[in-house]
Amino acid sequence: MPIELAPDHKIGLALANPIMIASGCGGYGAAYQGLIDQTVFGAIVTNPITLRPRRGAPGLRLVETSAGFVLDTGLQNPGVKKVIREYRQAWSRLGVPIIAHLPAAEPADLHRTARALTGTDTIAAIELGIPHHAIPFDLKLWIEAVQRDCLLPVLVKLPLDRALELAEAAANTGADILVIGLPPLAAALSPTGESVTGYLYGPALHGLALHAVQAVKELVDLPIIAAGGIHTLNDAQAFLQAGASAVQLDSLLFIDPKSAVELARALPAD
């Protein structure tokens, strides 16, 4: 039996497996196609898609840390038109639901980006990425902009270090599902002394995310997808036990794609 992640939504979001791939870790859905069987995953969330192309961060983007890394891509992406042109065929053939990740932007831009993606009929849902500096009122504008001409379920991905203070605002303004969450910001120095500020990835994220999931679960009555630092079956199960309906894998894909598949095979929907 598939898991219904948006039971109160007209279209809903049914996954055959609670293990998804997080935004930023699977490209636009086809990156790992030649390496692993991607159809075992419940869904793949795309890399960030913006209305216009973004060149991304100049210079060094990644610095490895002890048991992790700091990454800033600067939202590099070819823009929604080109993404649709290049990937819509792949999306309908991959055999796994695709969720488009839209980083928060000007409401008018968000509206047009979401409308263009909905029009392809190949997207299962929209995931809206909320930046670390957001205030509750921003969430209302962004979520309304996405939903104006888009009937798909909307996942709202909160920064995990601010999930508790933003969760109610997301729930009250129409989010169908909460994703907890966006990795915390961190800085690191490269061996040559260059500093990179960006998202922190690695196993240490798991504890931070688990705490945020537990706290938000007490507060808000929406389905929750947990994301952050899953490296083992135990990590995934801890999120599910804390009340998450599904989980997203992140950097495990980079360091051991095969074990990501094994993890999904060990956790079929029941």
Binding site: R61, L62, E64, T73
Partner: protein, 258 residues
């Protein structure tokens, strides 16, 4: 590309500080081309978190060799401590490697980053095709340079060290004004600063840098995923940002924004 466990079958020292690991990887398909890379797990747990990009040289249909240089990187240190019988988890082959046109009779290889492993496969391919090969090898000091005694005999080599401990004293680019006029094609591995200098040299000596003359392998950005997902390895080109893991790591120098 595949992800597979491969077994170390032999470990040889080269010179005082370098290692060559011979690895049985029969499942690795297709065979890696010169300039293509593998991503190796270089830790038992998460201490050394990301995979390391390593440039293999095919030995035969089932074996590849990996050159391990002296390097402070904890991942490469872990790798150099592996012994025959140990298993290594690898993904590959990845990326777009060097090409070798039939027109090329004189191939110049240049490295300013001590390591020449990305060039070894190209060197062997060129020798097998009857092409004359010259290597210009540069580094900070003699002790970090690849031991030239281990080079195949047909290769002519020139070395340069910043401290003058072997070969010419100065950067490797000092050697090139004499070598570039001889070459039909150049394959290089180096820093962006080196590529800037190389581009200026070629433009001065040949009046322009046409497409296809210099192929440069870019290793300045860490490659985390190898499949175009993480966008960590962006390289600026005249056609916008490209990814070292998919569009490279070998780029035409004429297209690189240096």
């Amino acid at each position: 590309m595949i992800q597979t466990q491969a077994t170390i079958v032999q470990k040889e020292t080269i010179g005082p500080a370098w290692w060559r690991l011979i690895i049985a990887a029969p499942a690795l398909a297709p065979r890696p081309l010169p300039g293509q890379f593998l991503l190796l797990r270089c830790a038992d747990r998460f201490t050394c978190y990301l995979r390391r990009a390593i440039f293999p040289t095919p030995v035969d249909d089932e074996h590849i060799s990996l050159l391990i240089r002296p390097d402070p990187d904890p991942g490469l240190a872990w790798l150099s401590a592996r012994q025959p019988g140990d298993q290594i988890d690898l993904i590959g082959p990845l990326g777009a490697g060097f090409s070798l046109s039939d027109q090329v009779r004189h191939l110049l290889l240049v490295s300013d980053v001590q390591s020449i492993d990305p060039l070894l496969g190209q060197m062997e391919r060129a020798i097998a095709a009857g092409v004359s090969v010259t290597l210009a090898l540069g580094g900070s000091r003699a002790s970090v340079l690849y031991p030239v005694s281990a080079l195949p005999p047909p290769v002519e080599f020139h070395t340069a060290t910043l401290d003058g401990s072997t070969g010419h004293r100065g950067p490797v680019t000092d050697l090139l004004p004499e070598l570039i006029p001889w070459a039909d094609a150049v394959c290089a591995v180096g820093s962006m600063r080196f590529y800037r200098a190389l581009k200026n040299l070629v433009e001065r000596i040949r009046f322009s840098l046409g497409t296809g003359f210099v192929s440069g392998l870019v290793t300045t950005q860490p490659i985390a995923c190898g499949v175009g997902a993480c966008l960590s390895c962006a390289v600026e080109t005249n056609h916008g940002p490209k990814l070292a893991c998919l569009d490279g790591p070998v780029f035409d120098l004429a297209a690189l924004s240096v």
